[in-house]
């Protein structure tokens, strides 16, 4: 599949490398070109400097033909806006949006976005670990 990832931090770069290795066509976006150093040397995808909340940048990243869009920048609102553009303007089939704030995460899920809140997921996991057997 053709994947556009916005945000080349730890999560974005790891995801990009994994998907690239499994043979998917990956384009990764970041505002800061130095972030691309996180990508492995063998990365065969495309990296592009630009802001994913700008529809022209998304177009350049190939959003019009993308099957999947993933927003994993540090900014919840940036992720939410870019994901909505991908979903509602470019009709990308599968859009996944990271949202740290659990309240915003649930609100946008109700609006039909596929959102994931690391805050919620990780605190739940840690809670489970603490309550599980030693």
């Amino acid at each position: 599949m053709r994947v556009v990832i916005m945000g080349c931090g730890r999560v974005g770069s790891t995801l990009a490398a994994t998907l690239d290795q499994s043979g998917h066509q990956v384009t990764i976006l970041d505002l800061d070109s130095t972030q691309f150093r996180r990508l492995p040397a063998a990365f065969g995808g495309q990296s592009l400097v630009g802001n994913g909340v700008d529809q022209d940048v998304l177009r350049r990243a190939g959003i019009e033909d993308a099957d999947v869009f993933v927003a994993v920048t540090q900014g919840d609102n940036r992720n939410l806006m870019a994901s909505q553009i991908a979903k509602h303007v470019f009709n990308v089939r599968k859009v996944v949006c990271r949202t740290y704030d659990p309240v915003r995460e649930e609100f946008y899920q109700e609006l039909g976005l596929t959102t994931i809140s690391p805050t919620k997921v990780i605190s739940r996991m840690i809670g489970d670990m603490l309550q599980g057997p030693e």
Binding site: G75, N77, E110
Partner: protein
Amino acid sequence: MYIILVGGGKVGFHLARALLGEGHEILVIERDRRKCMTINDELGSVVLQGDGCEAAILTEAGAARADLVIAVTGGDEDNLVVCQLAKGKFHAPRTIARINNPKNESIFKKLGIDDTISSTQVIMERIQAEIPSHPMLHLATLGSYGLELVNLSVPEGSVAAGRRLRDISLPPQTVVSLIISTDGPRVPTGDTQIQVGDEVIAVTRVESEDTLRAQFTSQH
């Protein structure tokens, strides 16, 4: 009215002052402590320090009873989220978003934010209206139909000068509604001859604007 302003920068500050002057109840939500202090010193205790995109802060601000929420931060993504939260979660009857990047206007509309203000757009419109040499003025945008009302001045040497209206092939869905010449305004017919100096008032589609402009203002 109870109005919540998210963003206490230059726009937020002056807007708050103006709205207070009109007798509205105002609350400014601003993240930066220094900006909050300035607002507090100059406008009184009408400021709440915090992130206006956080539901907890909007709750504390009393967003549920706000008549209007205006998002005027420098970030379009923040303004979008503030308005969507205010509308969807707090049922604010009306939200207005400032748009910093004019390209985002159509996206905001598509995402349900009806009222947007783009400062770049406003300034552009003022410039177009103020500079008389500009061959085409936007008089109005007609709702969401993609139509607009424009005013074209026919310059010296224009390809349209001396031709009858019926001989000019107008773009689709374009109507010339009025021609103002030195004799005064008249509703044109196909036989009306275009003269240098005429003001042509037309309704056209946004995407036909350039074609229409060329038909009346390009030179021989």
